[in-house]
Symmetry: D4
Subunit: 149 residues, 8 copies
Amino acid sequence: MTLNVYLSGEIHTDWREQITTGAQGLDIAFGAPVTDHAASDDCGVAILGAEDKKFWHDRLGAQVNAIRTRKGIEDADVVVVRFGDKYKQWNAAFDAGMAAALGKSLIILQPEEHDHALKEVDAAALAVARTPQQVVQILEYVLTGALPQ
Amino acid sequence: MTLNVYLSGEIHTDWREQITTGAQGLDIAFGAPVTDHAASDDCGVAILGAEDKKFWHDRLGAQVNAIRTRKGIEDADVVVVRFGDKYKQWNAAFDAGMAAALGKSLIILQPEEHDHALKEVDAAALAVARTPQQVVQILEYVLTGALPQ
Amino acid sequence: MTLNVYLSGEIHTDWREQITTGAQGLDIAFGAPVTDHAASDDCGVAILGAEDKKFWHDRLGAQVNAIRTRKGIEDADVVVVRFGDKYKQWNAAFDAGMAAALGKSLIILQPEEHDHALKEVDAAALAVARTPQQVVQILEYVLTGALPQ
Amino acid sequence: MTLNVYLSGEIHTDWREQITTGAQGLDIAFGAPVTDHAASDDCGVAILGAEDKKFWHDRLGAQVNAIRTRKGIEDADVVVVRFGDKYKQWNAAFDAGMAAALGKSLIILQPEEHDHALKEVDAAALAVARTPQQVVQILEYVLTGALPQ
Amino acid sequence: MTLNVYLSGEIHTDWREQITTGAQGLDIAFGAPVTDHAASDDCGVAILGAEDKKFWHDRLGAQVNAIRTRKGIEDADVVVVRFGDKYKQWNAAFDAGMAAALGKSLIILQPEEHDHALKEVDAAALAVARTPQQVVQILEYVLTGALPQ
Amino acid sequence: MTLNVYLSGEIHTDWREQITTGAQGLDIAFGAPVTDHAASDDCGVAILGAEDKKFWHDRLGAQVNAIRTRKGIEDADVVVVRFGDKYKQWNAAFDAGMAAALGKSLIILQPEEHDHALKEVDAAALAVARTPQQVVQILEYVLTGALPQ
Amino acid sequence: MTLNVYLSGEIHTDWREQITTGAQGLDIAFGAPVTDHAASDDCGVAILGAEDKKFWHDRLGAQVNAIRTRKGIEDADVVVVRFGDKYKQWNAAFDAGMAAALGKSLIILQPEEHDHALKEVDAAALAVARTPQQVVQILEYVLTGALPQ
Amino acid sequence: MTLNVYLSGEIHTDWREQITTGAQGLDIAFGAPVTDHAASDDCGVAILGAEDKKFWHDRLGAQVNAIRTRKGIEDADVVVVRFGDKYKQWNAAFDAGMAAALGKSLIILQPEEHDHALKEVDAAALAVARTPQQVVQILEYVLTGALPQ
């Protein structure tokens, strides 16, 4: 069993590396959005041409990124969505909503301080983790049945 | 043609009333979450019994509310999601993600200041409105073909 | 909003009547299996002719009942599954599995003593209730936003 | 043709080994839940932290296990569900209901004494077997057309 | 509960009338193909213009009839397919295949002499009836729980 | 049986009126896009505000119109797509592609001169009609079984 | 592009060999039912035990065969259904109906004499071939663009 | 991540070669219709036999081509549709409609002069490109996150 896992959400800390490193040796294919913030913001106009209005500048980029996001979520068995300390992160919650509607297994990775604000998102998840290590342990258990020592 | 419209998101201003009042006379069936904030937060424990941990207190409530939300979104032709000035509003973005994945026509109602943070959500929408009146005008046009005077 | 609610499971106590009576005045269309145990067991052979082997006697009946069950679950927004004190009740758990796979909102009604044995079923549910009154209160809240006094 | 077969249900006897051993040489990819009873019961709290209430202890575990179960059933062409002599086994019947709703080919493996109690489950199955050897023979026939000698 | 029942297959005897008459008073909406054999054969060319080749003459008609058939089957909860004594009746078996793939409850109405030839079709059905009266009794039981006296 | 019929495509002649008038007395609910060309082109900017670039002017309008089109096609049993003499009419072919992918019964209404250019579209249709009267006759036959006199 | 092709229907002539031999070198994965008539008829009772009534003898076998058929059709891109000179062949038409409902590309292989009787089935097909060679030529063209010399 | 990309539309210029050459080294599986215009027009009659009427000549060919098109679009993650300067190109718009309804990521490649005529098609797309190089840049960014230098 190969598990397809999509790592959505916050792109400012190294949580994805912690998970992919921790999961080395497990039969997992990881996916993720483009995590270079500047590239992600400007990909639309960089390729398709400049826009005067920021609204359409953003639209071009968000739509190009959606090609990758949509593929990543649709191919996934498990979608991990990380909420960090900063920013609105509405795209993370949007991804979680898509994943839930598509019947994906959802794992939310978030600090406790967001528990109340995330209660609707958490209620659609199969696990609410606090650390990347817990996500690794869940994936290891799901694939091998082994619990953390 | 009856249009089913679900009004998701912010529950602290009267935007829903502005839309339903403005749309009087149109063939629309409106749906919405429970907008009594206290009831919405406590419905789970009020019915199913108290929980010591706030996490489970929230979970019980969020899951009971999900019965209504899921029904509202699945029955809808159009899902309007309102983002306001305050709070994290991740449940609004989550609803938008569900609506998008289910192929619903999505209208986002938000102030310009959120444009960049909402760019992924907006990119999945068929309209980004700034005022409830614009939402009413869209619904009127969709149903009757009439443009605002 | 009319809510379609299917009442699955145990047929030996009056829990369905408690719910439908308690929910009077709410905009709910209730569905249920045939609750006459003898008719339910024998409907196949009574209509299609006797079978020597009990296995096929049961098969004929179960398939005729499935016409009603399948319709009831597929039409439902909410599926309530009641587990009682007696019998194996595998058909109840089977209905719950169907409802979950079809994305229905699932409410489990069961005594605490079954909590551990039902943990996988409960984990797919949006509420685990102990009494029919709690189910009524959930349905009332979902439809009207009113909490029990 | 590779056949994906998920082996659901009873985890106290060696029926899975009998099937996988008997099916050696056939082009089958087998899946199964975690069959270490203690690990399966405690995986949630072992990874995500202890819960005071047994109900939530069970919920955490059941949800983590659901990541594996859901993947296993959704990937399967054939779901074999084994009902043994002991325990309530509602999770087995729940898996059968999910498999049926998802249009999977369902094989039930059960002793005759459960025929009446399982009649609704059996009625959704393409075969009701009494021994693991019969399951192996069905899988061999499905893949190669060869009948038992 | 209104039951939508589509009556597919043989159009040379009055079996449909027997069922609709027998089911008077039950909450059933019946559908059926056009049962005027000549109209059914010629509808395509009568409306769209003559064809030299019988093959295309038939194609035009079959496609126009498919508009009605498809609607009838897709709207149905129950599809009854009648196989008579004469003709190839491949369209009846084709309708049964569509109904099965769409998850409709299938009732086959056929004389015993066709049992072996129809075994794959029957295996997908929830009931195999021999007389229109049995179909009426099934529908009555499904809707009311009442068995034949 | 009520038939939902969506009339897509060319908006410069009175073909829709010919069909709806000709079909009077039949149990049909007709849908259509907004056929006021100017309103259809400008609805986006009229409601949501002016755009400097024609590309975004068009986008705003096309997306608002898509709310109506999507609803109309998804609700339809039959989608009639009319190709006229003028314009590119790519939106008509786009609607036909959506209708085909959604499994709708498709009727194409077009002059013979377009036969070769429309061969892929026609190949997905259940009828290719030349006149609105033929469409009416098809709808009448589908609903009543009556052929034109 | 690998094409998955399921060869359904008549099992008494060598048409499958003609197609698979003729298609050597093409990137095609072929599937088919068990074509050993005796094994196909008796597989149920040979594995699961004898039945007194022929009806249930047939049912056991048809359901075991359905495991293979369902997998074959669901995995297929193209379903070829062959109708021969003899027998009722309702299972062939049933497979065609399933394939059509699942949106598979359908090719019917039949002698002209059955044209009228098969008109509804043919109308759902993308090609009606008379010889296995034509089927090979279609598959070759679909994969390579090469027409027969 | 392997990306499946289907290149639909205009077959008279070398835009497909520009894209596949430009994308060398990227993990992409490209699909396309048969681009030999004569073969595409005549494949039906070349294999299945001549037709007197051009309408049916075209139908045979269009349906054989649909086997390839349908497979290509259904397997795709991304569908690129090219509109050129000449011809009606309704099949291109039809493919775009199918791709949109199936939830594929759609990229439209077209000259600016068609902007207004393609506004409904463009509104369903995640990118509107002017050159094959832009399409390559989008695909590279989607797969690697790298922007053009």
